[in-house]
């Protein structure tokens, strides 16, 4: 009966609207922050940062962005990697052409460019719904991929279509080592998580969710679909644009249009579905599941000293990964975040079963 909210009363609406209304959660959060900022950098090796944590952090930002659109506003998009590409190429060109710009500003601008493009590709959502819209957004995916592969200006006339970046410098700090990147990205992620949380708790967030749950009723109480849907597209693309820029600059270092292909889009979608639609926390779970699990699965045979061929290992990885997706959905169709919530609920009732 450690985890209980009894005896924790709220005396104002502000207190009631806190993000973590339960005291134990706040303690846990502080401990977690100390752990990720202070303990992890001290104990983990480069590989974990470069291959697991950095992609995880960046893709979580992207997943939050996509979740705002799909999970909160109910507009399915299968083409969000394209907006990441927009962000990445916008940042590349900004850094290339206006070298004196501070990188934080570059990020914001890249996000804004992506938001603008997202807005344009969001227009069909005013007429098309559900999976139809999902497939329609594929047009964005393929068209934008194509533009970056074909219009030479975007890649600074690189003949291979591949671009590369130099390490980032900001306020005299060169973000180069894996740990530095990790800390920078982690801070960004926290900021973006808070912003997302704030948005979905505000009236704009409620407009999105209303649009998602029942669009006719939403209109009748005065929500304009145009505004709600397009802001969702814009904010969501903004997140993805920033994630794209980070993906290019902090993770890949050198990339080609293919780096932001349909597979990445689908992966983002997997993340939010596995993690939980309409849950910011779910994005963390989802990103961890999709980014980390395959890599871990791939290495399991080696760890347990079970000699199988790489081919077999990667086939197995596919099979187990697929089976796990189905398994988790069967256990909880609303994603890992819901599983987490149920777990917490049980903990709250513990030791009573109901």
């Amino acid at each position: 009966m450690i985890y209980r909210e009894n005896g924790q009363f709220k005396s104002s609406y502000a207190a009631d609207q806190q993000m973590l209304p339960i005291g134990q959660d706040r303690v846990f959060m502080v401990a977690l922050l100390v752990f990720v900022f202070a303990v992890l950098p001290a104990v983990l090796g480069d590989y974990v940062f470069l291959s697991l944590l950095i992609p995880f952090l960046i893709l979580t930002i992207a997943a939050i962005g996509l979740n705002l659109l799909v999970g909160y506003c109910g507009q399915i998009s299968l083409g969000h990697a394209a907006f990441m590409a927009v962000g990445a190429y916008a940042a590349y060109n900004l850094v290339l052409r206006v070298p004196q710009l501070n990188f934080l500003l570059v990020l914001v601008l890249a996000g804004l460019v992506a938001a603008a493009v997202g807005l344009v590709f969001g227009i069909p959502s005013l007429r098309i719904k559900g999976l139809y819209l999902g497939v329609a957004t594929l047009a964005a995916q393929f068209f934008i991929d194509w533009v970056f592969a074909r219009v030479k200006w975007f890649t600074n006339y690189a003949h291979s279509g591949s671009v590369q970046t130099a390490p980032i410098e900001m306020f005299g700090w060169t973000i180069d080592s894996p740990v530095e990147k990790y800390v920078f990205l982690l801070s960004l992620l926290i900021v973006f998580t808070l912003i997302a949380k704030n948005l979905v708790r505000s009236h704009i967030g409620r407009e999105w969710m209303a649009m998602r749950d029942m669009d006719v009723a939403a209109e009748v109480i005065g929500i304009r679909p145009v505004y709600a849907k397009l802001t969702a597209f814009a904010v969501s693309s903004f997140y993805c644009g920033i994630a794209g820029a980070l993906w290019g600059f902090m993770h890949l270092g050198a990339w080609e249009p293919l780096a932001f292909n349909l597979t990445l889009s689908l992966n983002l979608l997997f993340m939010i579905i596995i993690g939980g639609m309409g849950s910011v926390l779910g994005c963390y779970f989802g990103a961890a599941f999709i980014v980390v699990l395959p890599i871990v699965l791939n290495q399991v045979p080696a760890w347990i000293g079970f000699p199988i061929s790489t081919a077999m290992a990667s086939h197995l990885e596919f099979m187990i990964f697929g089976a796990l997706i189905v398994f988790f959905l069967v256990v909880e169709p609303n994603g890992l975040a819901r599983l987490w919530a149920i777990g917490k609920e049980k903990l709250r009732l513990w030791p009573f079963p109901h």
Partner: protein
């Protein structure tokens, strides 16, 4: 038929909404043909009629969800051919739905808060940072909503996702959401369907209180004749998309066409 009754009658004002010659058809189905009636300020106006008579369609027309092929709507002195749902909301007409149209994934509180949406002004950046005016605004509106929650006695379910609530409570949340808009006219589509007597009594009380305290004009669709006869000031009767009766409950009760089409003998 007390003093209060007369008092009410005295408060009923002039015409606020008028539907004139509205016709609406879906393919071959004539949902409404040439229907006209008016609504006066502060009255409780009931619409009754058999299933499929076009009652919900009528509300949808007023609401801007359906655009009639013919006819006009006069509201606050202005004449519309059809209205846009958003415009309607801004001009102070709120509505509940026959088969619930709540936002299933949101909590009761959030559902009702959406009703305050039109009045919330802070821009997206302020909301993102949740500072200053955004936070203040949020708390102010929360207070209004809490009052409505108290009024409708759904305090215990504030944080519950509405999808999990039993039907009757969902109906109440639907009403609460509409009330949160502080509308001039409230359109209610079978607010008491699926309720037992006790709950119906509560609901009637809520409706009358809204009507009395806030002076909200009410347009009500309902199949329970005792409710309609008890609480409405005037009744429109539709049948197969046509108006077959209009008047006070007593007048309507005596109308032979209405008896044949709808009431039957038992009432």
């Amino acid at each position: 038929m007390s003093a209060m009754e007369n008092d009410r009658a005295g408060r009923i004002g002039g015409q606020i909404l008028a539907v004139e010659g509205v016709s609406l058809a879906f393919g071959g189905v004539k949902a409404l043909s040439d229907v006209s009636f008016d609504v006066r300020e502060h009255e409780v106006r009931a619409i009754i009629g058999p299933n499929g008579a076009g009652k919900s369609s009528m509300l949808n027309v007023i609401n801007g969800v359906y655009h009639p092929q013919k006819g006009t709507i006069r509201y606050q002195g202005r004449e519309y051919h059809h209205m846009d749902p958003h415009e309607v909301a801004v001009s102070g007409i709120a509505r509940t739905f026959q088969s619930l149209a709540l936002f299933k994934g949101m909590s009761v509180l959030d559902n009702i808060m959406t009703g305050r949406n039109l009045r919330m002004r802070s821009n997206i950046l302020l909301q993102a940072l949740r500072i200053g005016p955004a936070l203040r605004e949020e708390n102010e509106h929360r207070e209004v909503v809490e009052r409505i929650i108290d009024f409708l006695e759904i305090q215990a379910y504030r944080k519950t996702p509405v999808g999990r609530l039993p039907y009757g409570l969902q109906k109440r949340v639907d009403l609460a959401r509409a009330l949160a808009m502080e509308p001039k006219i409230l359109l209610l589509d079978e607010p008491m369907a699926g309720m037992n007597i006790e709950e119906k009594q509560d609901m009637c009380r809520f409706i009358l209180d809204v009507n009395d305290e806030f002076g909200t004009t009410i347009v009500l669709i309902e199949h329970d004749m005792s409710v309609v006869m008890d609480i409405s000031d005037r009744v429109v009767v539709l049948d197969y998309g046509r108006k077959i009766g209009d008047g006070t409950p007593d007048e309507v009760r005596g109308n032979q066409a209405v008896i044949d089409a709808y009431l039957g003998v038992s009432h």
